[in-house]
């Protein structure tokens, strides 16, 4: 049992950190990708998907009424726009502010890592990030987040607080992975069986790389880059730590950590329905019903899970239940 506000802060600390990390991955891969492409479709087509993945198109248009979608405008918006609450800078800031709230619940090492991450990001983003320094920035940011997770594994007491941190990380990761796949798939999928042009090839590679899954996929699928295999890997791999199934299964473990695995709670019902969606489907059935529809359903169930947590844990006091002392 812990303070609702603390649980809420731990959860959003983790979600915001994961959000910053995923956004950095997306931009980084897109930037590197431009270099790799031989005959590239520069400009709008390359950067528009990023806005769609993160669901911020309307905000972007408002912030950039004149210039429209370009590499510079999208990168700057997603990275450091002060008015966009999910920009990397704002996500790191929110993560750090939430960490400050729970400073007495996290280890000293965790606090120092996240504090340093905020201070150095703030320092580097004082001015617009120059394109030649951008990749180094994103990679440093991902390293910082990874260090934070490492510190957490090694120094944080297991129990309820850890459960909320882990839950936030996994839910955000599952959400982002589903979004990345959905948008890329839209652009990519000509046929189920084969990768079409060279351009497609690079796009699929970029998709895998953006979730650090390229090498893992190659090791398990030596036949080649078949979209159906890639999709199956991202959705259903039981061993790849960023696949949807892997994340959702771990959400179950995290629920045990916070002792919220009683079947009758809203949270638990939402979790079961989320897990069922993955367990009851295969790559084939997903393609039959349509990947986009499947992923939209997935995102919907993740949102439901988030609302259930909100009601059961962060606003538990609104109910009549009076907890037994200690």
């Amino acid at each position: 049992m812990m303070l609702s506000r603390m649980a809420d802060a731990l959860y959003w600390m983790a979600r915001n950190l994961e959000r910053a990390d995923n956004t950095a991955r997306l931009i980084e891969i897109n930037l590197l990708h431009l270099v790799e492409m031989e005959e590239a479709a520069f400009g709008e087509a390359q950067w528009d998907p990023l806005l769609r993945i993160t669901g911020c198109e309307p905000l972007f248009v408002k912030a950039n009424p004149k210039y429209g979608i370009s590499k510079a405008s999208v990168v700057s918006f997603l990275t450091q726009d002060p008015d966009y609450s999910n920009s990397i800078l704002n996500s790191v800031k929110l993560a750090r502010e939430n960490a400050r709230v729970v400073r007495d619940r996290i280890s000293k090492e965790m606090w120092e890592t996240i504090n340093y991450l905020w201070l150095s990001s703030q320092e580097q983003l004082k001015l617009p990030l120059p394109p030649d320094r951008a990749p180094a920035f994103y990679s440093a940011l991902r390293n910082g987040v990874a260090r934070f997770h490492g510190m957490t594994q090694d120094t944080m007491m297991r129990g309820e607080a850890y459960g909320f941190y882990w839950l936030g990380t996994l839910i955000e990761r599952a959400d982002m992975t589903a979004r990345i796949l959905d948008v890329k798939y839209h652009i990519l999928l000509p046929t189920v069986d084969m990768v079409g042009s060279a351009l497609d090839y690079y796009q699929w590679v970029a998709l895998l790389k953006s979730i650090s899954g390229y090498e893992a996929f190659r090791r398990t699928h030596q036949a080649g880059l078949r979209p159906v295999d890639i999709t199956e890997f991202i959705l259903f791999s039981a061993v790849f730590p960023r696949s949807l199934l892997f994340c959702v299964q771990r959400i179950g473990f995290a629920l045990e950590d916070i002792c919220f695995n009683q079947p009758e709670t809203r949270t638990c019902q939402a979790f079961r329905s989320l897990l069922a969606l993955l367990e009851d489907n295969t790559a084939e059935s997903v393609f039959k019903q349509g990947l986009h529809e499947f992923l939209q359903e997935m995102l919907q169930r993740i949102a439901t899970m988030n609302q259930a947590l909100q009601a059961d844990c962060f606003e538990a006091y609104l109910g009549e239940a009076i907890a037994v002392p200690h």
Partner: protein, 508 residues
């Protein structure tokens, strides 16, 4: 950075007492007491051991140790917040001087006895004020003084706090006059802060100067949080073993937030904000992930004004609606009890010696700084004629805010204060400038003398305890008498020593 800290010559010299001190805040005619030097040259006997070692090791060694201290504080994130115009408070690293202040146990025991006497009397005073008011009826203190002070809380008259204690935690500011006498400058009975820095200073000093602790037999005080927890636990309306104790903080932007987290961690209690608490059916509850959990003791670090919008300021967003009613019903203990502020009102301060005589029939062990009440015609005339030599203070401000330092003031500032005093005399007191005692500090690679005070912390539990030592606050700015950390102050570790550190004959 590094080079500026290191004295290039490395030659050690004893600093002379500065005769050409700048005039800011200092009365040139009065020589402050020096805690370290006996006659401007020779260290007092209880500093001899430390002095010998500093001399032997040299300044470079001191520089290395000062650097180590700064790095450790930085890495540990020991910070305080300076209020600024921006949305976020600025966090600063706690300024620390490595040369300890040493107080022989004999001297300390008298000081501690004086503090206990004072806190005992002030608690009897508060209980009387909020019940029978004998002291007012007997004419020892003018009733007007109490009722006109903003800090008397009519709302709590007649409420009985557990064990009749109002100020479970106090931090009394002590200074030394030119003769070296310990005087009380201010009683801080509301939410005094600084205890976490006192403990941090000690942990740091133990790491940096470990060799002296045994020789000096320095008394321990790191058990303060344990003492405090015990005192809190016994106030619980339910059995102390099942007591749920909660610390109430105004939040992360409060200047003392570091201290709030420090104490909550040390005591293993929940750190809550007002929005984490709710009152239902006159009981106070904590909002947890499992629903509501009943709270027995609330250690609040929030002023009375903001505690309960139903009782005090209705615009408070950081308090808990209904808290005072729950307290009145005996369902929760509040520490310190509401209403205690009237006893550290700076005008009431002038009467504390009388208060001690009245309730305890004893002579005060510790003296006061002479204080003029602007309400009294005679006092007021005297002060208005001599403002250059006075410190004028608002009666219920702390942290060095709202003060006029006569000697360093401009004619305009004095005029402003004169008008303010005439408009609302009850709101002001004045004291002659006391040149705070000085001590040796190691600043910018040099040994220099600086003014300081002392804030010992007193816990009123089953008995009254004063942890040996306290927070020594130092005005790091040359010549300054303002020790507040928000205004360029720093601190030292304070050692109450059983031994003066001389080696027994056979070891020599």
């Amino acid at each position: 950075m590094v080079s500026s800290l290191i004295n290039s010559t490395g030659i050690f010299y004893a600093p002379k007492l500065r005769t050409n001190m700048p005039t800011t805040n200092v009365l040139p005619t009065r020589t402050p007491y020096h805690e370290f030097y006996e006659d401007g040259q020779r260290p007092r006997s209880h500093y001899a051991l430390l002095w010998e070692n500093i001399q032997r090791a040299g300044l470079d060694n001191l520089t290395a140790k000062a650097r180590e201290a700064h790095l450790a504080l930085n890495a540990d994130g020991v910070t305080f917040t300076v209020y600024s115009e921006k949305e976020q408070g600025l966090e600063r690293v706690w300024p620390f001087d490595i040369i300890p202040r040493i107080i022989p146990a004999g001297e300390w025991n008298i000081l501690a006895a004086g503090l206990k006497q004072r806190i005992r009397a002030l608690n009897l005073f508060l209980k009387d004020l909020y019940h029978d008011q004998r002291i007012l009826r007997d004419g020892v203190i003018p009733a007007q003084l109490i009722y006109q002070g903003g800090d008397f809380r009519r709302e709590i008259v007649g409420i009985d706090p557990p064990h009749g204690i109002y100020t479970h935690i106090s931090g009394v500011d002590i200074i030394r006059d030119e003769q070296g006498r310990y005087l009380v400058l201010e009683d801080n009975l509301r939410t005094p802060s600084g205890v976490s820095y006192m403990i941090e200073n000690r942990m740091l000093e133990r790491r940096i100067l470990p060799e002296f602790f045994e020789r000096y037999r320095v008394k321990r005080m790191e058990h303060y949080p344990a003492l405090l927890l015990e005192a809190l636990r016994r106030l619980s309306p339910r059995s102390p073993n099942e007591a749920v104790i909660v610390m109430l903080t105004p939040g992360i932007y409060n200047s003392a937030y570091f201290e709030h987290t420090f104490l909550a961690k040390e005591m293993g209690i929940e750190l809550a904000e007002g929005r984490d608490l709710v009152v239902k059916n006159n009981f106070v509850y904590l909002k947890t992930t499992r629903g509501l959990q009943q709270v027995d003791v609330l250690y609040r670090r929030l002023d009375d004004d903001f505690l309960d919008p139903l009782c005090f300021r209705p615009d408070s967003l950081v308090g808990v609606a209904g808290l005072i009613n729950s307290w009145r019903g005996g369902h929760v203990a509040i520490v310190n009890a509401p209403g205690g502020g009237i006893a550290d009102d700076k005008a009431v301060y002038a009467y504390v010696p009388e208060i001690i005589r009245y309730y305890l029939a004893e002579e005060p062990i510790l003296g006061n700084v002479p204080t003029y009440l602007m309400q009294k015609d005679q006092d007021r005339e005297r002060v208005l004629d001599d403002m250059e030599n006075m410190v004028v203070k608002v009666v219920n401000e702390s942290g060095g805010y709202g003060m006029l330092m006569g000697p360093s003031s401009t004619a305009d500032e004095r005029e402003t204060f004169r008008n303010k005093i005439l408009a609302n005399p009850r709101n002001f007191i004045a004291q002659p400038v006391v040149p705070l005692s000085q001590h040796l500090c190691y600043l910018d690679g040099e040994l220099q003398s600086r003014h300081l005070d002392l804030r010992p912390f007193i816990i009123y539990g089953e008995e009254i305890d004063v942890v040996p030592g306290g927070l020594t606050r130092v005005a790091f700015r040359k010549g300054s008498l303002v020790v507040n950390s928000s205004q360029g102050g720093g601190s030292k570790d304070t050692w109450v020593v059983e031994s003066t550190g001389e080696r027994p004959e056979k070891e020599r």
